[in-house]
């Protein structure tokens, strides 16, 4: 197998809580690999640590109150991003690893034209002249499917719709042809017809430019349609990781199973369309107060004594290549305890 482009090992990002009394362990020992050209889906509900993970990769965590713990390791192209000097880091951030954010309304600067904002990265990182950078900005607008790019380059963000602004964000991120694109809920704020346009655009650009994409989303439908592999996060940890078809066909962690059962489905047969949803009881705990033992045990329908006392490691459940499907759950050691799922 090819070497990973990005290797995250035992990432711990902690925050000092408001009153300075406690520690929020937002990301607590996360490891995963991102391979060239693939799309990796990072899934979970709010508060599970997926956004903090992606911000940590780019070292965009505000310090204080946050800090990445010693022992964490993020390797990109053979170098540990966490020990790079600010100058070296700047040469990578926005150039080789770029990011798009959820809010296209607030992530663009309202007082600069979209052309200036797209051109900035090309001027800083690639030392293009203003004229060449402007030409590049027009080229990028055309690439992301904005009509009349030569006119639009001089427009301000408020003159554009939400979908257009998200296209501008993508153009900004891709202007230096990054090797890795981190997309944090890129379609969550958009209507479904616009979401379909943006997902299709990202797919096309990935095929054309050959970059790896880390797609952060809470929407299992988006993951099913776009990701090659999925990492499921809960309470600051990876709880399951598998190739996409495998994860949906054989979800092994009770949290993954519960998430899939919670979603009302458009493809449900009419007889089952109105059936009760098997939700997950309770809610995601606070990151300053993760439960002991398995962090999911208070919400888990299968939990027994061991789950309350001992934190499970990531166990290998692969049917194919070793390590391709891992699960943080004691059920793997005692599969007979996975009885029919109790009712909601």
């Amino acid at each position: 197998m090819t070497e990973p482009l990005l290797r995250v090992r035992d990432l711990k990002t902690y925050f000092v809580t408001e009153h300075g009394s406690g520690t929020a362990r937002a990301v607590d020992g996360v490891s995963f690999d991102l391979y060239p050209g693939e799309t990796l889906g990072l899934v979970g509900e709010s508060g599970c640590g997926k956004t903090v993970t992606s911000l940590s990769v780019l070292r965009l965590i505000p310090e204080p109150p946050g800090h990445i713990r010693p022992g964490s390791f993020i390797e990109f192209a053979g170098r540990n991003l966490l020990t790079l000097a600010p100058r070296e880091l700047r040469a990578i951030r926005g150039n080789q690893i770029a990011m798009i954010f959820q809010e296209p309304m607030t992530s663009l600067n309202p007082v600069f034209t979209v052309g200036d904002q797209i051109a900035e990265a090309a001027i800083v990182h690639q030392r293009l002249s203003r004229r060449a950078a402007r030409a590049r900005a027009i080229e990028m607008l055309k690439l992301v499917g904005i009509p009349d790019p030569a006119q639009r380059v001089d427009h301000y963000p408020h003159q554009m719709s939400g979908g257009m602004r998200q296209r501008v964000m993508i153009a900004m991120a891709l202007v230096c042809h990054p090797k890795v694109l981190i997309a944090d809920e890129p379609t969550t704020a958009l209507d479904v017809t616009i979401q379909a346009q943006i997902l299709e655009l990202l797919e096309r650009l990935q095929a054309e430019l050959g970059m790896a994409v880390m797609l952060i989303t809470h929407d299992l439908g988006v993951v099913a349609g776009s990701a090659d592999r999925v990492v499921v996060m809960y309470a600051g940890q990876v709880v399951e990781q598998a190739p996409t078809p495998e994860l949906f066909a054989r979800p092994l962690h009770p949290y993954t199973e519960g998430l899939l059962a919670s979603v009302p489905r458009l493809d449900a047969p009419p007889a089952r369309a109105r059936a009760r949803l098997h939700g997950i009881p309770g809610q995601v705990p606070a990151s300053s107060d993760w439960p002991g033992g398995c962090r999911f045990h208070p919400r888990c329908p299968y939990a027994w004594d061991r789950c309350r006392e001992e934190e499970p490691p990531l166990l290998d459940a692969s049917s194919g290549e070793p390590g391709s499907h891992t699960v943080r759950c004691w059920l793997l050691t005692e599969p007979q305890r996975r009885t029919t799922r109790p009712g909601p």
Binding site: E45, S46, S161, G163, M164, D191, V192, T193, I194, Q195, A196, Q197, L199, E200, H218, D219, L220, G221, V222, V223, A224, G225, T244, P245, F248, A249, G258, L259, L260, A261, S262, V263, P264, R265, L266, D267, A268, P270, A273, R274, R276, L277, H278, G279, I280, P281, Q283, V284, P344
Partner: protein, 332 residues
């Protein structure tokens, strides 16, 4: 969807146009009128759920608010059990308000941060002279239990609750005056999926137990499929398709409905689906296109000059199914 005697809620020809604001800090030319709701009619029978779907700006929330007169409509009739809401005086309106309540999308913005849960729930009871003192306390405890909250939450403030808990308080507040009809305006779209499932189950239970009638406004077609008996699809202030839920999802007739359904991501990586990707954005409701409002984005192969000039009427194209498309007989 034509008015019927058995309907609890009967909306006829509802219109709400917002005057265009003047450009340049109120000094410039007045902008065009926004036709947020443009001749909308529907009826809901008791105990049923009508799902009202559409993308942002289509006017679905304005419909929900105008039929409760939280926004005054410009024209039309809203009959609740035969009484026209729009001609009532303020005292009569207040009495009728007991029978219809609303739950808002944002569980963070719709609760007063300075009130405890008990105060929030006691207010409607006092306004409608339903209960005070110890009697109110008992009713509040029962309400909290009914929406799945421990009665101990009565002394909490909104900021101490999670999003799902707040939404349960919002539902309890709406239920406190024992309404027959609830407008649910995107009640689960701000919630995480696991909590969303809990709240959808709760709404289904309450409907059954209390024989409630729902207008369920949402942009998520999968959620609406799960909860609605009838579905109306809005585009630029108008209903473009109406059908029983099973029918709408199995055999949509309007190309907008078909495209919307095809764009919803399905959590199944093996699903073989044809995704119709619409080009362009939803036009501004201040400048709706002439003819069929959907024609600039319409993927229908038969699209022609008639679509650009003649607005299609909402008509019955199959038993119980209405669509506003010249080519509804030949769906995509």
């Amino acid at each position: 969807m034509t008015s019927s005697a058995s309907a609890l809620v009967d909306v006829q020809g509802l219109v709400k146009h917002f005057p265009g604001e003047r450009a340049f800090f109120g000094l410039g030319r007045p902008r065009a009128v926004v036709r947020a709701v443009d001749d909308v009619s529907f009826a809901i029978t008791p105990g049923q759920t009508l799902g009202l779907v559409g993308e942002s700006g289509c006017g679905k929330s304005t419909v929900g608010r105008t039929i409760l007169r939280l926004i005054e409509p410009d024209a039309g009739r809203v009959l609740i059990d035969g009484l026209n809401l729009l001609t009532l005086g303020s005292r009569e309106l207040r009495a009728l308000r007991r029978r219809m309540q609303i739950v808002f999308q944002d569980p963070y913005g719709s609760l007063n941060p300075r009130l405890t849960v008990r105060q929030t729930l006691a207010e409607p009871l006092a306004i409608h002279h339903l209960a005070t003192g110890a009697d109110a306390g008992r009713r509040i405890a029962a309400l909290l239990e009914e929406v799945g909250l421990d009665p101990g939450f009565a002394t909490s403030y909104a900021h101490e609750l999670s999003g799902g808990q707040r939404q349960r308080v919002g539902i309890a507040r709406a239920l406190s005056v024992e309404p027959q009809f609830l407008v649910l305006d995107e009640p689960v779209s701000a919630l995480d999926v696991s909590v969303q499932a809990q709240v959808l189950n709760l709404l289904a239970d309450l409907q059954q137990r209390r024989r409630l009638t729902y207008l369920f406004i949402a942009h998520d077609l999968a959620v609406v499929k799960h909860i609605a008996d009838q579905v109306a699809v809005m585009y630029l202030g108008k209903i473009v398709e109406w059908a029983p839920a099973a029918r709408l999802y199995a055999a949509p007739r309007h190309p907008y409905t078909t495209s919307l359904l095809s764009a919803v991501p399905v959590p199944d990586p093996m699903a073989q689906r044809r995704r119709i990707v619409l080009t362009g954005d939803v036009p501004s409701p201040a400048h709706p296109p002439a003819g069929c409002p959907f024609h600039p984005r319409c993927p229908h192969p038969k699209k022609d000059a008639r679509c650009r000039t003649e607005p299609p009427a909402l008509r019955e194209v199959a038993p119980g199914q209405l669509a506003a498309c010249h080519y509804a007989e030949e769906p995509l």
